[in-house]
């Protein structure tokens, strides 16, 4: 079939793709407009800058420190550069995924209709990715290693190291973009999303063994062993960019070249992966409407809202909201991501804390070290962390919350139902974590203490976070990326969740104090009833008091979570 020849249009011929600088300027402009008339955002930004500067300065001196050690001890230099640099790269890889989310000020989907070659778009988004406190701070911190390289190998080594540092920064930014974008794509597709969820869990779980490794290293304080690890890490993408200068200093230019080339290859591979997923993110907005083949619904609308597993809920405002919340914690990718992360962290933290590094590695002697108090404290932490997922519960709903405001759902009913919907996942999960820890420790008699601690911390945490969720809600950006959080307001308010965590830990500490005061034998019996009463009491009181606040602030809450601004 003959298609008409392409039109020779002067406008098309004159098209020049915009440079990466253009994207960087666009991002700066977006950031600046975000501050307009928002004094507190400027304040938070300045605080963020100061924190970033402090981190950068500390990092710079740490990376430059080996030069003080003198020529004698080059092992120390390898140690600091390879392990320090590796930790940074790993942080860029994992932290956006697990904790902080990635700044999607420039959402790729927004560029879908512009005639941009993929290469231009990618270069532009990457350039924009460098604009931000974390990237600048990382760049400044690692620049310290240039001083080290210069001390050992002079100008040539310093130059190579500078190239390495730049490459390392590029690697960090590209890796964080590629991995979040890749996971977002997988979580979007219905076929892949369960696989992606599991992979995410495994990645989050990597944090655990990593901690173990670090603590082992610190405990043993065996320099030779550490240097051996560093000598391996320097040949992985994690350490390679930061050790190239040292190779020059030690007279191995070929090794340095290999490291730089390897880094470049890894960056290229990451960019390729990213470009694939960016493309699908751009298509995603246009083709999200493709519906699955509709199956015949089973039963009437009521039966569909309350499937067999939820039949026990009484139909009414409370039951309906609880049923929907239960549904949403699984159907909404953002909420599911937070559930999975929690499950993994919840298993690892108590194991780390109680069994200890040595215990996990099979060193029997240290296993007896733990005590009911120690177990209790770790359980308090897990319980508080679990409740933290509710800190922005209204933000997950976004403008859909309007449906509740229009009806005028009473605040107490609303909060009780939300707590119930979330607890349908959390209570079995927390109970299971306690059992798992008990199995590993071989102390089933401690189960009541653990359950009691979990109940106390989870309950008080819920109470605290109910208030946080009403008073400090923030809009989540309306993108398909579950890891995206908007810069400025969202970032700052997500830091509030740390405050909430400390507040609920403080409230739960009462339980720990009581456990000190009561004799241990008696406590084993009292722990569960006391913990349950404390936790349930706190939650009920929280729903009661926060419900009043919600009744007064419904429309204001709706305005903050609707993502117009």
């Amino acid at each position: 079939m003959a298609v008409t020849a392409p039109v020779a249009d002067p406008a098309v011929a004159a098209f020049r793709p915009p440079s990466a600088r253009h994207f960087a300027r666009l991002k700066l402009r977006v950031l600046r407009n975000g501050f307009r008339g928002q004094g507190w955002r400027v304040t938070l930004f300045v605080l963020g800058c100061l924190f970033g500067l402090w981190f950068a300065a500390m990092g710079f001196f740490a990376f430059a420190a080996p030069s003080l050690a003198g020529d004698a001890d080059r092992d120390v230099a390898v140690l600091v550069l390879a392990l320090g640099g590796g930790a940074l790269v790993l942080g860029w890889l994992l932290l956006p995924l697990v904790f902080f989310g990635v700044d999607e000020t420039l959402d790729p989907a927004r560029f879908a209709l512009l005639p941009l070659p993929r290469r231009t778009l990618l270069a532009g988004l990457l350039a924009a990715g460098f604009i931000g406190i974390p990237a600048v701070a990382t760049g400044l911190a690692t620049a310290g290693s240039v001083v080290t390289a210069a001390t050992f190998g002079g100008a040539g080594a310093a130059l190579v190291q500078a190239i390495g540092v730049a490459g390392g920064l590029l690697l960090c930014v590209a890796a964080s973009r590629a991995i979040t974008s890749g996971f977002a794509t997988m979580l979007r597709s219905r076929r892949m999303r369960d696989l992606a969820a599991i992979m995410l869990a495994v990645l989050a779980a990597l944090l655990g063994p990593l901690q173990i490794g670090v603590i082992v290293a610190l405990n043993n304080a065996d320099l030779d062993q550490l240097v051996r690890v560093a000598r391996v890490v320097e040949w992985t993408p994690f350490g390679a960019p930061y050790t190239a200068g040292l190779d020059v200093a030690e007279g191995r230019p070929l090794a340095a070249a290999a490291k730089l080339l390897g880094t470049a290859a890894v960056i290229a591979a990451l960019l390729w992966w990213w470009s694939r997923s960016v493309e699908s993110a751009m298509l995603g907005t246009a083709s999200a409407g493709t519906a699955r083949p509709a199956r015949a619904p089973a039963g009437g609308p009521m039966a569909q809202l309350f499937p067999r597993a939820l039949r026990w809920l009484r139909p009414g405002q409370h039951g309906a909201i609880a049923a929907r919340e239960a549904r949403y914690w699984w159907r909404d990718a953002r909420r599911r991501a937070s559930l999975i992360t929690l499950a993994v962290v919840g298993v690892f933290v108590p194991l780390m804390f109680n069994v200890g590094v040595a215990g996990l590695l099979g060193d029997e002697s240290s296993q007896a070290a733990t005590s009911p108090t120690q177990v209790t404290i770790s359980m308090l932490f897990v319980g508080s962390l679990a409740a933290l997922s509710l800190a922005n519960q209204f933000g997950y709903d976004g403008s859909a919350y309007a449906a509740h405001v229009v009806v005028g759902v009473p605040g107490r009913v609303e909060l009780r139902a939300r707590v119930l919907g979330f607890s349908m996942y959390m209570v079995p999960l927390l109970a299971g974590i306690a059992v798992l820890v008990a199995i590993v420790l071989g102390r089933f008699d401690w189960l009541p203490v653990m359950w009691g601690g979990l109940a106390a911390a989870y309950g008080t945490g819920l109470a605290v976070n109910l208030f946080v969720s009403i008073l400090a809600a923030y809009a989540l950006p309306d993108t398909a990326n579950p890891f995206a959080i908007s810069t400025g307001a969202g970032m700052a308010k997500s830091l509030l969740s740390f405050v909430a965590l400390f507040a609920s830990l403080a409230a739960a500490a009462v339980y720990a104090i009581v456990s000190f005061l009561v004799p241990e034998g008696l406590w084993l019996w009292l722990a569960l009833p006391v913990g349950l009463a404390y936790g349930v009491g706190a939650t009920v009181l929280g729903c009661y008091l926060a419900g009043d606040v919600l009744d007064r602030r419904g429309p204001e809450l709706l305005a903050t979570v609707s993502s117009k601004r």
């Binding site: 008339g37 909201i321 549904r327 949403y328 449906a403």
Partner: protein, 253 residues
């Protein structure tokens, strides 16, 4: 509100400021019961802001709103029971299927389970949403989403229906269906207030019209009073103060 006949919706001196910009600058409006009321205005005139304040979604800086005599802001429970709302630009709980969404909305409204079941089934049938089966609302087309929103607003049989842009992004078939349902609702004694900037629809449906521009009501009255024998579009452009093309600009097109 006092008055011989209580208005279905009464707005008095509504004001809303966003930072330095005044979005709505003192709107007074009386919507008689049983009327089909069109709120017209160009983009950014403050239609959505006005309606949001009228139904209790957005707290006004000044002024008040009454639904069939009940103050929306001081007696919200009673007012909201009489009111069905379809906001524009807010999402539905779209990770539910259409049937689940209706069952959910009905229960939120405090209706009995069997009534919800029966009405939801009927609405799904009439609005041709039953075929979608278990498809989640997030995967619906724009027109289907609008129809789901309308079904949610109608489910509890309100006396006053407030719809923000009900005909936006709706195909002609769905549009005709929505028009038909709304007309039947008004014939049955209900009152409809809706915002739009599609003159043709307003002319065909409305008994009363108010034109809103720059946050204030410019013209108000029955359709014939406002038109004064001219096409509505002409009146609208004149009232709003549109710009007339000279034929010189955009010569490169």
């Amino acid at each position: 509100m006092t008055g011989e006949r209580t208005a279905a919706l009464a707005l008095r001196g509504l004001v809303k400021r966003f930072e330095s910009k005044v979005a709505v600058a003192g709107v007074d409006l009386d919507v008689p019961a049983g009327s089909f009321y069109g709120l017209l205005g160009p983009n950014g005139a403050g239609k959505t802001t006005t309606l949001s304040m009228a139904v209790g979604l957005l707290r006004p800086d000044a002024g008040g709103a009454w639904v069939l005599g009940h103050d929306v802001w001081s007696d919200p429970v009673r007012a909201k029971q009489l009111l069905g709302v379809m906001p524009d630009g807010t999402r539905l709980f779209d990770r539910l299927s259409g049937a689940e969404l209706l069952a959910y909305t009905g229960l939120l409204r405090g209706m009995a389970a069997d009534v919800v079941d029966q009405r939801a089934r009927e609405l799904l049938d009439v609005l041709a949403l039953a075929d979608a089966g278990r498809t989640l609302v997030v995967d619906y087309s724009a027109g289907m989403k609008k129809k789901s929103g309308l079904a949610c607003a109608l489910l509890h049989g309100p006396r006053l229906l407030v719809l923000d842009e009900p005909f936006e992004a709706v195909d002609p078939v769905s549009g005709a269906l929505i028009r038909d349902i709304l007309q039947r609702y008004v014939t049955g004694g209900g009152t409809v207030v809706f915002s739009s900037h599609v003159m043709e629809v307003v002319e065909r449906l409305c008994s009363h019209v108010a034109i809103l521009a720059a946050g204030a009501i410019k013209t108000v009255g029955t359709l014939d009073e406002v038109r004064g024998g001219r096409p509505l579009e002409e009146v609208f452009v004149e009232v709003v103060g549109g710009r007339t093309a000279t034929g010189q600009e955009l010569s490169w097109l």
